[in-house]
Amino acid sequence: MEPRFPDPTSLGLLLAVAALPFVLPTVTLASEAVVFATGTLSCSLLLGGVGLLSFGQGLFLGAGAYASGLLLRDAGLGTAAAVLLSTLGAAALAGLVGFISVRRRGVYFVMLTLAFAQMGYFAVLAAGRVTGGENGLTGVPRPSLPGGLALDTPGAVYAVLAVLCLSAFFLAQRVLASPFGSVLAAIRENEARAEALGYGTRAFKVAAFALAGGIAGLAGAMHTLFLGFVPPNTIQLEMSERLIVMAIIGGAGSPAGAFVGALFFVVAAEFLAELWPRWLILIGLLLIAIVLFMPRGIWGAAQELLARRRAAAVPGLAADA
């Protein structure tokens, strides 16, 4: 019942990430999938791990995207340094936002994260001379990696994004299956009881928020590497919404659910957008159906199905004999 690391889904993630560029129609689509999977992971970690619904993950993704863009283009940093610094910067920003937000619970916590997310977007517009305002941050270079690996083909970019995505997922799995992660689960289940046992629940929540913010920031830096520019929609409120929708579609209960949700959303968007410009209506209907009939998401439902089949298989064998 308690999470483990590595578990079978760790291997599944590894295989899925390796197979994506060959299974999906384009490598670009595979890149988009791993970028959004990483962003969605930050939402799932908070929602499924600690029970915190954050509308602010788009802010940290956007912060990571802009920070990496500026570091690559204006500060002339290498790819590795830019990704690392933007990840840490987003984690620090999230630590600050979390420190303020976890003082409130329930809907007030959600409103605080929402307010911070809105401020981030308008701050980017206000600082238009640095950020490019509505036009975004254009002309971001992709310097070669320290080993001399040039990021000049979609395949090379995908390889880097895949490694970063897997690192984030393995880190999340490791953290959830640790003493720290078990306290997060305790907070999710019964925060008052966790506090009565002697856990400083507020500090644990701030730490989880900073970790999730760092992962969102990493997704932002990956987004910048992927596109070669930073569109302002990376920090718009819609980004936060999209990450939550992906997390819920996949199932927030585990990191694997985040991967499934993001993959499903990105692929569905690709195909549906060709069929109908108003495809988001279909995603809306799908979300309603999932919340009503599969509250644990696609991944949760798949796990249940698997468990039921396994349970059914045992008496089935006995009946045959």
Binding site: F180, G181, A186
Partner: protein, 255 residues
Amino acid sequence: MPEPPPLLAAEGLGVRFGDFRALGGVSLRVRQGGIHSVIGPNGAGKTTLFNALTGARPPTEGAVTLAGREVTRMPAHRRARLGMSRSFQVTNLFAELAVRENLRLAVQAARGRSAWAFWHAPSRLPGVAEAVEGLLSLTGLAARADARAGSLPHGGQRALEIGMALASDPKLVLLDEPLAGMGVDDVARTKALIRGLAPARTVLLIEHNMGVVLDISDRITVLARGRVIAEGPPAAIRADPGVREAYLGSTGAAA
């Protein structure tokens, strides 16, 4: 022979809620290694006394000493570190987590900063697994260790609650109505569990089941309307006319 100093002592303890005096002038000396029960009709101030002793709601007057140390204003989680632990009157568990995980979280909570480790599995904290197994067998929950805590029958949940109170290996355990709502079999088992805690640990017990209280207590304090009306060994309490009157006057045949 001089009496050893009490493990827990209250001196002139009082708690007011606005104009209402829930507790007044209560003095209590809990001897090391014994089972000391607090009884009294509903509304006598028993849980208020517990809250004042544990720091959940500090008293408005009087003083509390734990092992000779003044702790009247000390917050609850720091008293817990001095070896005081309590169970709750209302069952309060991690219902969706396994029984074993509930106990493990309680054991881990007593290990301070090691709960912050995020780079290894929880099972790698030294001594935790052994402590959890010990609590599982002590509470009689070993066979249900992997069940969801919320799926346990009421008696099992109460036993788990006691197990969690014992997880920090406390010197002093305060149990607030541990037998409430239990079936006959569970009562017998839990009674034996509580009796077995002493003399290694000291127990302060609030309980309505008078048969059990008279049977297992070394000493009984009787509260009525926020005051101590009697204190002594079970035989003396049983014979005390004031106690009979307090009970007959309020809850009828409770005694």
